[in-house]
């Protein structure tokens, strides 16, 4: 299970890179194109460059990362923290929970790309636990 002490290095890393959320969301849309279905109102998603340069993708990506960071501050109650978002994504948007796991893994890859040497296997393991916890909390409304 997750603990507050594990959140210290992780929250530091989130703060360091502004564009991590935008890049993670952008890569999700490029690598797993069906996810674009939820963002058709964002405009031009016709190429990788279009997606990564799209202002709405960047803004939404930042929103997603802020939400993750909030989750990192509340590891003891992820289900409570993400209850409203779970309702939104599951009940209203009908997003299959597998996509939460995909985004979590894309986020881990983006962090690895940015932090290189610092992104040790142990740090990756901590992040994997957080993204799995967040994905599970977001999927909670399906149960």
């Amino acid at each position: 299970s997750l603990s507050a002490s594990e959140s210290f290095p992780m929250s530091q890393l989130f703060v360091k890179v502004d564009e991590v959320g935008a890049e993670a969301l952008g890569r999700l849309l490029v690598v797993y194109p069906w996810t674009q279905r939820f963002f058709e109102h964002f405009g031009d998603l016709s190429s990788a460059d279009a997606v990564l340069g799209n202002a709405k993708v960047k803004a939404h990506g930042k929103k997603v990362l802020d939400s993750f960071s909030n989750g990192v501050q509340h590891l003891d109650d992820l289900k409570g923290t993400f209850a409203e978002l779970s309702e939104l994504h599951c009940d209203k948007l009908h997003v299959d929970p597998e996509n939460f796991r995909l985004l979590g893994n894309v986020l881990v890859i983006v962090l690895a790309r940015h932090f290189g040497k610092e992104f040790t296997p142990e740090l990756q393991a901590e992040f994997q636990k957080v993204v799995a916890g967040v994905a599970s909390a977001l999927a909670h409304r399906y149960h």
């Binding site: 690598v31 890859i109 690895a112 790309r113 296997p121 990756q124 393991a125 994997q128």
Partner: protein, 142 residues
Amino acid sequence: MVLAPADRAAVLALWRKLGTNVGIYTTEALERTFVAFPSSKTYFLHLNLSPGSAQVRAHGQKVANALVLAVNHLDDLPRTLSYLRELHTHKLRVDPVFFKLLCHCLLVTLARHYPGDFSPNMHASLVRFLNHVISALAPSSG
């Protein structure tokens, strides 16, 4: 299943760049899988799994050899990997989820070491290539 020309070109170019170092990255991917997803160690209890283990490095090299083989036989993956499919599916009975975890850790490793090459398009090409490999290795994985 056929890998699109753009994906082939991207993966071939990257593999050429990795050259003889593929084994270094597959070994790191294995080590990351063991640390991040400890249940995966179940397939390797007969090996010394401590960091830097020569046995893990040897297995990493086997994985590297298989990926290089795959990259050079993209037109005929099922036949090329049939021996490995038999081994992993019927003899070792590896849960296909493990292959997905290992591939994810390989992407983490490559993103870490080649941040400039790891563009969104390269990322997508690698995912598609690795999915082809997993399909050829574990056809029932759906």
